[in-house]
């Protein structure tokens, strides 16, 4: 009996201790500034998402402990990418609250301090992506130090390659160029090299090189081959550096399973494989060998052709060695004598020196002075005779040079007129030239249609979308709904009838959407029950229905508004078309943007009827809904005027960057590769216009983000359109059926993989998905939107790990 009493006392004591611990935790969390709270949320929400509430609490506690001990600041100061590398490296050490994990983090941070942060000053955004992509394996498997080292190495190699100034290319050409090069290059340096070479073939002339590092290189056409040699040397150096990096970091080698995973990745690629795919390694090694001054330039040129595997347009240019370039002054061809030009060129060839641009494009300092009328005819006659003589004595190379010289002006003229023709429509259609979506590899290579095994993967087509089941009267009153029993509601066609397939209605591919309100629901902010009739004179400033907590939240949120958000937020004078618009004005002004974006996300998601089966019943019968649930209810009511108000508000109040990023967020959260539904396609196209982006830019962005083209505008009202859709495509639209498939199939669908995928396609699809979710894409949006993207990223990560057999 005494023992029992003792045990009860002990248990009570433990419970009290636990309770006080929880109290202390919540107090400590509340006492932190909002920024720190957000930071902790950002770190721990993925944990909650992945491991549940208990792990979330542990994570919060660990973060609080860290802040108490002052260690976390070090981690918090890291960039998102560095932090991700640290967390990845320490994921296997144990839970985030464990000592082993903390030790690992400390060790990672300590190693990081010895390596300077990379400087991306001379790196364009697309190149930065290539750098990040190249270092992705290091980031996810080898720790923060290796990752940073990799970044530095890549940037160093990259900046050693002269960059082409493509600013004068129109957007379409530039995009096409970037797409081609990102598909072919495996490192940033190769990418830049590719841009340079491709740029030449587009422009037909040598590019103007922009300032690189400390030296600004103004390059003549004749320097191109030399530069190519330099590039090839750089590529070889990169390859060497890669090996060196791998060899010098034995302690950071990935674990066995990670090694097998990386067997197909860039970091484990042999040096020779680091060359661009269109480069012949043997030829490349030839160009690295020193070339004698007296070596005929044509040999160098041919070597270059072998090395690059391409067909440089600079056929009129005689190549020279790098040494020759440094020693030779530009030669100018005098205008009156083509023959003389040919002779000069032949002489130059023999001497291994280069000659400046064709005569038609150069100013001739040595040109003959103006002749008098009497001197002209004899002189012309003499020249003509010389010309004929020279023609008779020309060999094939001479003819080739003449043809090139004659053709070049016509070619330039053609390109110029083409550019002028295309420039105007492009400028009209592209309203935001600041949009620089990141470029991804392999986007031209993915086949859209795979015939085999699709039925096995995606299930029985009859199991797909059922009849017109969601039958919800528009604008039902909450009173009527709350009075109706579920069966009554079904009989009255108020609530959808649940079919067998509907029982699995929750769409695992849209977890992010179902959890969209997760973060914001943690505070106790709740609004009053939905008023179906809008208030007569809503005042955005007064917030009559706001509770003290909401006021505090509003104040806090207003203080936390970023500069960009402030710029984008203008006082609106919108003629509301719906009760939603009036409801919006009752919300804190600082929340308007977030709420409108949230509405859009739900609109796109629910447009394909992706929601839990009980959601409608719950939302339409509840009396006390938070604002996120109220938004869901408006969307489920299919209130088209609410949609109209949201578009109107965003167009009036959001900055162009915010509009762009909102569209990117919708794409990142809701649209997967190879399964764009007709609703998504239609809405994407409409939003692109509503957000001043336009069709061309949308399609370009889509292809860059997904690796395949956006299908044409859907016409589900036309039988001819349906006849063009194959069964596999239609099945992929049906996320409801997918939710009942085995987990592996769901992971495949999540990454948008087609049936006969291999590991490299998993990795590439994951990388594209990761890029779509990268927080840098949503800098003009709020923390909440970035958290959503991060949560979505984690789901892609899980899919990748599952499909590659990696267990973390």
């Amino acid at each position: 009996m005494q023992q029992l009493h003792f045990m009860r006392s002990l248990l009570s004591g433990l419970l009290l201790l636990a309770a006080s611990s929880v109290t202390a935790q919540s107090l400590s969390l509340d006492s932190l500034p909002q920024e720190s709270q957000d930071e902790i949320s950002r770190i721990c929400l993925p944990v909650q998402f992945r491991e549940g509430a208990g792990a979330y609490r542990n994570c919060v506690q660990a973060e609080l402990d860290l802040r108490t001990s002052g260690q976390s600041n070090e981690l918090a100061k890291l960039s998102f990418d560095d932090k991700y590398a640290v967390q990845q490296a320490c994921a296997k050490a144990g839970g985030q609250s464990s000592t082993a994990y903390q030790n690992c983090v400390n060790e990672q941070i300590s190693e990081l301090k010895n390596i300077s942060a990379p400087v991306f000053d001379n790196v364009s955004e697309d190149e930065l992506y290539m750098v990040q992509q190249t270092c992705f394996d290091a980031q996810s498997k080898q720790g923060a130090a290796s990752y940073r080292q990799c970044l530095n190495t890549q940037v160093q190699s990259l900046t050693a390659v002269p960059a082409a100034d493509t600013s004068k290319l129109n957007m379409l050409k530039k995009n096409a160029l970037q797409l081609r090069c990102s598909a072919n290059a495996t490192t940033a340096a190769e990418y830049r090299q590719c841009i340079v070479v491709e740029f030449e073939s587009i422009a037909g002339v040598a590019p103007n090189f922009v300032s690189v590092g400390t030296a600004t290189q103004v390059v003549r056409t004749s320097e191109v081959p030399a530069r190519k040699s330099l590039v090839n040397e750089t590529v070889a150096k990169i390859a060497e550096t890669k090996i060196a990096t791998e060899q010098t970091a034995p302690s950071q080698k990935p674990e066995p399973i990670a090694q097998s995973d990386s067997a197909k990745s860039e970091t484990s690629t042999p040096a020779v494989m680091a060359l661009p795919r269109n480069i012949n390694p043997q030829a490349a090694s030839k160009t690295n060998a020193p070339i004698a001054l007296d070596q005929p330039s044509v040999v160098a040129k041919n070597t270059l052709r072998d090395a690059t595997g391409d067909n440089p347009d600079t056929t009129t240019t005689l190549a020279s060695t790098p040494t020759a370039l440094n020693n030779v002054q530009p030669r100018v061809i005098s205008k009156p004598g083509l023959v003389e030009a040919v002779k000069q060129q032949q002489r130059a060839e023999a001497q291994g020196i280069d000659i400046e641009e064709p005569a038609s494009t150069t100013t001739n300092a040595d040109s003959p002075k103006a002749s008098t009328g009497s001197e002209i005819m004899p002189r012309l006659s003499e020249l003509w005779q010389k010309f004929l003589d020279s023609l008779a004595s020309l060999d094939s190379l001479g003819w080739l040079i003449i043809a090139g010289v004659l053709a070049l002006p016509a070619l330039l003229l053609g390109i110029f007129s083409l550019v002028r023709r295309t420039k105007q429509p492009v400028e009209q259609s592209i309203h935001n030239t600041a949009l620089t979506d990141r470029i991804e590899p392999g986007m031209h290579t993915r086949k859209l249609r795979h015939e085999r095994e699709a039925a096995e993967l995606f299930g029985d087509p009859e199991n797909a979308i059922q009849n017109d089941q969601p039958a919800l009267h528009e604008h039902p009153t909450p009173q009527a709904l709350s009075n109706a029993s579920p069966s009554d509601a079904a009989n009255q066609n108020v609530m959808p009838t649940q079919t067998g397939a509907d029982q699995h209605d929750i769409d695992s591919e849209h977890d992010a959407v179902t959890r969209i309100a997760m973060k914001s629901e943690q505070p106790v902010a709740r609004v009053k029950p939905l008023e179906q009739t809008p208030p007569e004179s809503p005042s955005p400033e007064s917030h009559p229905s706001e509770s003290p907590i909401e006021q505090a939240m509003r104040q806090s949120a207003t203080n936390g508004v970023s500069a960009d958000q402030s710029r984008g937020r203008r006082q609106s004078n919108i003629a509301w078309q719906s009760a939603f618009g009036h409801w919006l004005t009752q919300q804190p002004e600082s929340d308007h943007m977030e709420l409108c974006i949230e509405f859009l996300i739900y609109w796109v998601a629910y447009g394909d009827e992706r929601y839990e089966p009980d959601l409608k019943k719950r939302l339409f019968t509840a009396n006390d809904l938070n604002k996120h649930d109220q938004i869901k209810r408006w969307v489920l009511k299919q209130d088209v005027f609410a949609f109209s108000d949201v578009i109107g508000w965003l167009r009036t109040n959001a900055s162009q960057t915010q509009l762009d990023q909102s569209l990117s967020l919708i794409m990142a959260l809701l649209i997967t590769e190879n399964s764009v539904t007709p609703v998504q396609n239609t809405l994407l196209r409409f939003l692109s216009d509503a957000f001043n982006i336009g069709k061309d830019q949308l399609e370009s962005r889509f292809e860059a983000a997904y690796g395949h083209t956006l299908p044409p505008m859907p016409r589900p009202d036309k039988q001819a359109w349906w006849d063009k859709q194959d069964q596999q495509t239609i099945q992929r639209w049906n996320s409801r059926a997918m939710a009942s498939r085995p987990e592996r199939d769901q992971m495949i669908a999540r990454l948008g993989l087609l049936p006969d995928f291999d590991e490299s396609q998993v990795i590439n699809a994951f990388r594209r998905a990761a890029r779509r979710c990268h927080p840098d894409r949503f800098t003009a949006l709020g923390e909440r939107e970035r958290a959503l993207a991060e949560q979505r990223f984690i789901t892609f990560e899980q899919a990748r790990d599952k499909l590659l057999g990696v267990s973390v």
């Binding site: 259609s429 309203h431 087509p461 797909a464 979308i465 059922q466 009849n467 017109d468 969601p470 039958a471 919800l472 009267h473 528009e474 066609n493 609106s572 919108i574 003629a575 078309q577 609109w603 447009g607 394909d608 009827e609 299919q638 088209v640 005027f641 949609f643 109209s644 108000d645 578009i647 109107g648 508000w649 167009r651 009036t652 539904t677 007709p678 609703v679 239609t682 809405l683 196209r685 409409f686 692109s688 216009d689 509503a690 001043n692 982006i693 336009g694 069709k695 061309d696 505008m713 859907p714 016409r715 589900p716 009202d717 036309k718 039988q719 001819a720 349906w722 239609i730 639209w733």
Partner: protein, 96 residues
């Protein structure tokens, strides 16, 4: 996109059986004007997707009439104005 619901004089959320009945009750000359109506509205799967996109066109039409949007001349690279006109049943000649 053609607005078959309006042609049939029914709501988008009308039950499947009522839709089929409405299609069957259409006169041959009415059906002749709407080549694809019967095929689309009689196929459950096709109609399901048609209904969802129909909602989007309904919403797009609402945006097109929203003064807050139209006052600032939105980009129209997809010719939404023509698509919205086609959405009205009396217009049946625009193929986009």
């Amino acid at each position: 996109m053609r607005n078959y619901y309006e042609v049939l004089g029914i709501d988008r959320l009308t039950s499947s059986s009522t839709i089929k009945q409405s299609v069957e009750e259409m006169r041959p000359e009415e059906l002749a004007d709407e080549d694809d109506l019967q095929a689309i509205m009689s196929n459950d799967k096709w109609r399901g997707h048609y209904r969802r996109v129909h909602l989007q066109y309904d919403a797009i039409a609402a945006v097109m009439e929203n003064p807050s949007v139209t006052k600032s001349a939105p980009v129209n690279t997809h010719q939404w104005d023509k698509r919205a006109i086609e959405f009205a049943p009396e217009q049946n000649t625009i193929e986009l």
